[in-house]
């Protein structure tokens, strides 16, 4: 009946699965290529595209290469359907690296999507764009990331943080500084979700740049509990590293306990044996912490010492240095320590990580426990115990990793886990590895009080079906018995019973596992006896008796070894010895090789230790066995026989004594030798822990027991120094401000209505929205920069003396760190000079140029060109040709004057000239779509200026009458929408309209910002990486000027060139000439190194903009000029750079 029912149930379930599979993607997975995919991809229906993409995905899942569809798939990136988009993205990410050229086709769509109103679309576009990993588009991605890093949506900002490691992975040197800058920016975010992702980016981009953390340390600690769990894992590690690098180790912590002990021990003049050290430690703790419970304080100083050193230096380095430990300890002695009780930074770290011990994510718990293990005062470590033990219950997979960590903790401080020994009892679901770890931990944490319960458990384990585990248990029993002499006897009894029990099955071939158990049992017995042989005589005798039944060769070998070793102990053994030897001699030929060797050794030893009366009998046995051995098949045994015979010839061959004196002497020698070889005290193997490797808790390396690539030990304590704590706090305060700024901007833009409202105006939407954020952030940023520049000014003299020699080369004040790391891997230099390098990257002799700035500063002359403004002649452009305007000619030139109405307005000098013979009436310039009605116009103007985003033209007074050949100049104030797009205007004249276009000149979107060279270089240093753009061009104007010049002199040549350049730049852009540096070089014609600096600030938002021109080449040749623009506004900076390059390259007028 049951079977019938079962059958129906089965068919029922089959039917139901059939039903359930309908409508799923099952058929797509099973036969992905049963239709032609290509036409589906070109279909105009989203559903068909979807199906095709799903089929492709199925093929990818099954491991087929379908990259040949790439071009067709890429096209679909433009699809409006969000599902198609998602599927295309999945495909793109899988194959983009393989098909870089086609992948480039998708970039435009990503950039379009980046401006989408839907944050999900923006985020996906960014993720995919960064994920396709093409070197060519890295700069674009970086711009996109920096834009998204200021996005109002938390999710998009989070994705921006995640994109940074992707860009970093491309290993483009010139981007590194910019990426790090962005990491720092995102760490400053006020949303915990973003901070988590930023921390992950930090860990993979610049884990050593701890100065980035320093700015936000407190804030990061405080937000730690709110950060999403995955971010917490990473952030905890970063904060720990920072705290150590900044403040050093905590003197109450476990990490330093052993070092104190060492001092005490040396003061007492105590010997450095392990046992003694341990006793001392007990005494020490007893004295110092008599109020604290004693069990808590007991830690194995030796292990703790190794652990703490491996954490700090990495075990590989430590082990190589192990022999010269003294040097090392003195090295460590010089470190600074801090106290968890006084140091606020450490206190806050411990305070904020302790609730994380309750997290439901086991990785978070382990990471938090790691911090407490390293940093918390010893008496507080207790609190990590229960959470760690609880982790073991969370999942089988994490159990093993957690136990690996507990193992080290328990080795160092057994007392920590001693009361919880029950938690390490085996459960049937444990894997072998887990069981082995539990056993090891149990044998480390066993105490006098718990040992009996633990043994009770061990007895059960011995009967476990897994014999390998049973053997391990036996080994653990042996270890415990050695630790606790009191229980040694019970152990021995148990082990003996086990041995005799096992030996009954020993010769069964099927029970291979039994052999291991037996072997381990004998081994443990041997080890226990080794501690105190004389009182265990009975055990030895017992074992000898069981020789007959034990058939495992290695086990027999061990017993026979004991026969030899303890042949002269007690009363019983010497009595049974002759019988045993005879027995061994009888069965010698059937023994295994290893047993034979042991028999020979044992006989030798017996002979050595034997008393006169038995000597003869033993000698006979031995020579019999040697004879057998000499004919053995195995050459090892023949060798051994020969060796023993030679060594013991004095005993064996003593029958024929009539020999020379010389031989007597050699006999004495061999006697001594034999005594040494066989009777020498065996040194107990030194504690295994010396070779143990320790890695940071919670790390992968710790589980696999070798340093995984990318493993970093803790930073050197106190390697991160701030000169003055007040500066530090200053920075923290400064850093808080932009956060507030961001809140404001977000509260403004986060409101979906306001965003969509501004986005309704399609073309400008992106801009206004980016502007509003950029603007508010810009102010926030300048706050930081000002506070930072203060710091830098403080520091300047110090850095000036250092080898880098270029003031403020590192804006973060982190040059100390960099120098520190340069010692280890030479990377530091690269980091600190990266911003320099990035704009000299195409320079063939960059090595020379790296040190150039400082040499220029020393050997350059600063020239002032005072009269230059007289020569500045703005370029005049035609607005209206007389041919088109019925004889009216209108020209305009950008003026360097500043508008008094609004900083957004650009001033123009417009000159109206009547070239005709008739007077002209009512001339006026108005906006394209505005009526002439001036009252309307005025109101529109005020309105627009209050809104601040509508481009406008300040109404111009009407020119009532313009006589023939009369010229009227008028100052016009205009606001351009865009740096490049012309402004369409309408010129009214005599009632007619002429459409005209006013072309903007980006050079006049700035106003001069007077500053001196110090401020200039400080600002320049704050705008590295992505805020820095360089191009080269050829400049030829000066050649004509030089040829014109009547009296060529050395300095004048340079002067002429400088004037040429300065005039040209100032005629086309509204800058302030900061300085002209001229090299005082030996070569008179060599203009290389000539350097002009201009400064200005953007009209719209007062963002500073710096221009530097560096010349190369000789005076009378065309000069190669490197133009560098530093500006926070990326787009503007790039456009400005192009403008300057173009104007320098175009030949002089007239």
């Amino acid at each position: 009946m049951f079977t019938q029912f079962g059958a129906t149930a089965e068919s029922l379930s089959k039917a139901s699965t059939m039903v359930f599979r309908i409508g799923t993607d099952a058929h797509l997975y099973d036969d992905p290529d049963d239709v032609n995919i290509a036409p589906l991809l070109d279909s105009k229906f989203d559903s068909e595209k979807c199906e095709a993409l799903k089929r492709l995905l199925a093929l990818i899942a099954q491991g087929f290469d379908v990259s040949n569809f790439f071009p067709q798939v890429v096209k679909n990136v433009a699809s409006q359907s969000i599902e198609v988009k998602k599927l295309v993205y999945l495909y793109l990410l899988h194959y983009a690296e393989k098909r870089p050229n086609e992948a480039l086709l998708s970039i435009n769509y990503f950039q379009k999507d980046l401006g989408d109103t839907n944050p999900l679309v923006r985020a996906w576009a960014l993720r995919t764009m960064a994920g396709i990993r093409l070197h060519v588009i890295a700069p674009l991605v970086l711009v996109a990331v920096s834009k998204c890093a200021r996005d109002p949506s938390v999710y998009v900002r989070k994705c921006a943080a995640n994109a940074l490691p992707k860009v970093h992975d491309l290993r483009l040197e010139e981007n590194t500084a910019a990426i790090e800058e962005l990491v720092g920016f995102l760490l400053n975010d006020n949303s915990p979700g973003v901070i988590g992702a930023a921390a992950a980016a930090f860990a993979s981009v610049c884990p050593t740049n701890l100065s980035l953390i320093g700015r936000n340390y407190r804030r990061l600690c405080e937000t730690l509990p709110d950060v999403e769990e995955w971010g917490q894992i990473v952030l905890i590690g970063i904060l720990l590293r920072y705290a150590i690098a900044r403040h050093g180790l905590v003197k109450e912590s476990i990490m330093l306990s052993s070092r104190d002990l060492e001092n005490i021990a040396s003061e007492n003049g105590a010997s450095d044996t392990y046992q003694k050290g341990n006793e001392d430690s007990n005494a020490y703790f007893g004295l110092k912490e008599s109020n604290a419970d004693l069990t808590n304080g007991v830690c194995k100083s030796e292990v703790v010492d190794i652990v703490s050193r491996s954490y700090l230096e990495g075990p590989d380095k430590y082990l190589s240095k192990h022999r010269c430990a003294d040097v090392l300890s003195s090295e460590l002695e010089g470190l600074h320590f801090t106290s968890a009780k006084d140091n606020e930074d450490i206190k806050i770290l411990l305070l904020c990580t302790s609730p994380l011990l309750w997290s439901h994510n086991s990785a978070v718990v382990l990471a938090a426990a790691g911090v407490h293990w390293i940093m918390a005062p010893k008496e507080d470590i207790q609190k990590i115990v229960k959470p760690l033990l609880f982790l073991m219950r969370s999942s089988n997979s994490s159990k093993y990793v957690v136990l690996c960590n507990i193992q080290v903790f328990s080795k160092a401080v057994p007392s920590l886990f001693a009361p919880h020994f029950e938690d390490f009892f085996m459960s049937p679901s444990d894997s072998y590895q887990v069981k082995a770890l539990k056993l090891e931990i149990l044998s480390t944490i066993a105490t006098e009080s718990s040992i009996s319960s633990i043994f009770q458990e061990f007895q059960d384990y011995v009967k476990d079906p897994d014999r390998k585990f049973a053997a391990d248990t036996v080994a653990a029993i042996g270890l415990c018995a050695q630790q606790f002499p009191k229980v040694a006897n019970t152990c021995l009894e148990g082990l003996l019973a086990l041995a005799s029990h096992e030996s009954t099955y020993g010769d069964n071939a099927a029970t291979d596992g039994e052999a291991i158990v037996l072997l381990q049992a004998i081994y443990s017995i041997k080890a226990i006896i080794g501690k105190d042989p004389s009182s265990n005589e009975k055990v030895i005798v017992h074992l000898i008796r069981s020789l007959e039944s034990i058939r495992v060769p290695a086990a027999r070998g061990m017993i026979i070894w004991m026969v030899g070793e303890y042949s002269d102990i007690g009363n019983v053994i010497p009595k049974v010895l002759p019988v045993v030897l005879k027995y061994l001699a009888r069965c010698f030929t059937v023994e295994e090789v290893e047993t034979k060797l042991q028999i020979l050794n044992a006989c030798g030893k017996v002979l050595l230790h034997s008393k006169e009366e038995e000597l003869w009998a033993y000698r006979k046995v031995l020579s019999y066995m040697l004879d057998l051995a000499r004919c053995d098949l195995n050459y090892d045994i023949r060798d051994r026989a020969r060796f023993i015979k030679e060594l013991l010839s004095c005993y064996i061959g003593s029958s024929d004594t009539e020999e020379g004196k010389a031989q007597q002497e050699s006999r004495d020698v061999s006697r001594v030798l034999a005594g040494r070889i066989f009777g020498g005290q065996i040194k107990a193997p030194s504690s295994e822990q010396f070779s143990a490797r320790f890695y940071l808790p919670g790390s992968l390396s710790h589980v696999v027991l070798h340093a995984a690539p990318g493993y970093e030990p803790l930073p050197r304590p106190c390697s991160l120094n701030f000169e003055d704590p007040s500066i530090n706090s200053n920075i923290v305060e400064g850093a808080k401000r932009p956060g507030d700024g961001a809140t404001q901007s977000e509260s403004y833009t986060d409101d979906p209505d306001s965003v969509s409202g501004s986005l309704n105006e399609e073309s400008t939407s992106d801009y206004s929205y980016a502007d509003s954020i950029g603007g508010s952030d810009g102010t926030g940023g300048s706050n930081v920069s000002s506070s930072l520049s203060e710091v830098d000014v403080h520091k300047e003299p110090l850095i000036h003396l250092s080898e880098v020699g270029y003031p403020n080369a590192n804006p973060d004040g982190g040059s100390h760190v960099d120098n520190q790391y340069s010692g280890s891997n030479n990377l530091g230099e690269l980091i600190s000079t990266r911003s320099l390098e990035s704009w000299l990257d195409e320079n063939p002799n960059s090595g020379h140029n790296l040190s150039e700035p400082s040499s220029i500063r020393k050997s350059s002359a600063r020239i002032s060109i005072g009269h230059i403004h007289g020569r500045v002649e703005p370029k005049i452009c035609a607005l209206l040709d007389p041919a088109n305007g019925n004889g009216l000619s209108v020209d305009y030139a950008f003026s360097s004057e500043l508008s008094s109405l609004s900083p957004l307005l650009v001033c123009l000098q417009v000159s109206f000239k009547n070239c005709s013979t008739e007077p002209m009436m009512n001339l006026q310039l108005v906006e394209d779509n505005k009526r002439q009605d001036s009252s309307d116009h005025a109101s529109a103007m005020t309105e627009s200026s209050s809104h601040g985003d509508v481009p406008s033209l300040v109404p111009m007074e009407e020119i009532a009458n313009l006589g023939p050949s009369e010229t009227i100049n008028i100052m016009l104030q205009v606001r351009f929408r865009h740096h490049l797009l012309p402004l369409k205007l309408v010129l009214w004249c005599n009632g007619k309209t002429y459409p005209v276009k006013l072309r903007p000149d980006i050079g006049y979107f700035v106003r001069p910002l007077p500053m001196d060279i110090g401020v200039f270089s400080a600002k320049e240093a704050q705008l590295p990486g992505m805020f820095e753009y360089t191009r080269r061009c050829i400049f030829t104007d000066h050649i004509g000027e030089l040829k014109k010049g009547d009296k060529p002199g050395t300095n004048d040549q340079f002067l002429v060139i400088c004037e040429c350049l300065a005039v040209k730049v100032l005629s086309n852009a509204n800058f302030f000439l900061v300085s002209v540096d001229m090299p005082v070089s030996a070569n008179l014609d060599d203009a290389s190194g000539l350097r002009l600096r201009f400064s200005g600030e953007l009209l719209s938002n007062s963002v500073p903009c710096l221009v530097t021109l560096v010349l190369e080449g000789t005076c009378f040749e065309p000069l190669n000029i490197l133009v560098k623009v530093n500006c926070e506004e990326t787009v503007f900076g790039l456009n400005l750079l192009n403008r300057i390059v173009n104007l320098l390259a175009e030949p002089a007028r007239g």
Binding site: K54, N118, S153, K166, I233, S362, S431
Partner: protein, 415 residues
């Protein structure tokens, strides 16, 4: 960070691969993994971290599906393990279980989920509530719809608002027609009973599971009458830690739907509900076995789903077992499973029989461990009692329900 994720079926077939970073991992590593796991057997199967010649592999095994993550660089191993567990949880939640067919049938959803859950090898969105809003779980309606109309999209085109909120685990403004919250104490009892029948260890691992269907943004406070018996605790991220630290009160804004509010452990318990007494005596190649089951401390609620399982030692050739109640199955893996169900009133269930040992063996050298399963509805055996559940921020008083359930966890009896 993780470089690649593979999903393997129980026959070692690679069902899915998802490359996460630019450093691609060839799927040949799965072949290597599978060869090793066949060669080395179970001990390899349960290794969570494996150092292969080219990569470090993290492994999570769930219901026949092997989840692998590969990396080449240092990263917290628990992060990978925990993430894979999360993926397994989410998938089995979405697909209503985990098996080869379910994953293959819904591979697009699996891909979409993986893409949302991890970005560049670092977990991105793992909160099930938000994932549900981004990618709709497959359900019968959408399936039918897709059959009928041929179109379906399970990808939401708006970003869940919760990603930006300070309670990322909760949908922004869920509208629930029902206004109710259920709190369940689900406990698992772990016990070890040694050979001589003494209780070595007994503890309870429990979870407070909440099923909440409340509108708005409610603020709940749950307190226990005897919180002091709790040994260790772990919380869902929604629990505020300060109130717990100071007063042992759970204060939280709940996610919508079913979730695990807290897990706890109560140690050193003295009473176990049922006893299992195995007796084995072997002589001349035969082993007599008898197992008795009965009530030890009556929990005053019915105990059901009682099972006893044990592994026959490898040296046993054949077994002949007969119960006086329930049924016995011997599986191919030499696992004996005796399902009893409820204890009969009239008699104590017993199992008796003989085992034939391998040739040459006189006596049974090893002894199996008996795994006991049971379930007690309506009571939390740890004795943990909920005191009260308070609400703030709710328009009307919701319906509250409390329930307890205890089942056997690792309840083992040695013989």
């Amino acid at each position: 960070m993780m470089q690649c994720i593979f999903l393997l079926s129980d026959s070692g077939e690679v069902m899915l691969e998802k490359q996460l970073t630019g450093h691609r991992v060839d799927r040949s590593i799965c072949a290597w993994f599978w060869e090793q796991s066949i060669a080395q057997g179970d001990s390899f199967k349960f290794m969570p971290v494996i150092a292969s010649p080219t990569h470090y592999i993290f492994q999570v095994f769930r219901e026949g599906i092997t989840f692998l993550a590969c990396t080449q660089v240092e990263m917290p191993p628990l992060m990978a393990t925990e993430f894979l567990c999360r993926v397994a949880d989410v998938l089995s939640d979405y697909l209503g279980g985990l098996n080869e067919d379910l994953i293959k049938d819904n591979f697009v959803i699996v891909y979409e989920l993986l893409d949302e859950m991890i970005d560049n090898g670092f977990p991105l969105t793992t909160e099930p509530n938000i994932l549900r809003e981004m990618i709709a779980p497959p359900n019968i309606v959408s399936k039918m719809l897709s059959v009928v109309t041929g179109t379906s999209s399970n990808v939401s085109n708006t970003l869940p608002v919760a990603t930006a909120s300070c309670v990322p685990w909760r949908k922004m403004d869920p509208k629930n027609t029902s206004n109710e919250v259920y709190v369940d104490l689900v406990e698992e009892m772990d016990a070890i009973i040694s050979r001589d029948g003494t209780l070595v260890k007994c503890e309870i691992y429990g979870e407070v599971q909440v099923n909440s269907h409340l509108s708005g943004l409610p603020d709940l406070t749950l307190s226990f009458a005897n919180a002091s018996i709790l040994n260790d605790v772990r919380f869902h991220p929604c629990v505020r830690l300060r109130p717990w630290e100071s007063q042992q009160i759970l204060s939280f804004v709940p996610p919508d739907g079913q979730f695990k509010l807290m897990s706890y452990r109560v140690k050193k318990l003295k009473n176990i509900p049922i006893y299992v007494k195995p007796q084995l005596s072997s002589d001349s190649g035969m082993c007599r076995i008898s197992v008795l089951v009965g009530i030890k401390n009556d929990p005053r609620k019915p105990i059901d789903s009682i099972t006893v399982e044990f592994q026959l030692p490898p040296c046993v050739l054949s077994a002949n077992l007969t119960p006086n109640h329930g049924t016995v199955n011997i599986l191919a893996s030499k696992t004996c499973s005796w399902s009893i169900g409820r204890l009969p009133k009239d008699k104590a269930p017993s199992l008796s029989g003989t085992l034939v040992l391998a040739a040459g063996l006189e006596r049974l050298p090893v002894f199996p461990t008996f795994q006991v399963g049971f379930r007690v509805m309506g009571i939390a055996l740890s004795g943990l009692q909920m005191d009260k559940l308070d609400f703030k921020n709710l328009p009307s008083r919701p319906y509250k329900g409390f329930r307890g359930l205890t089942r056997a966890g690792e309840y083992q009896v040695r013989s």
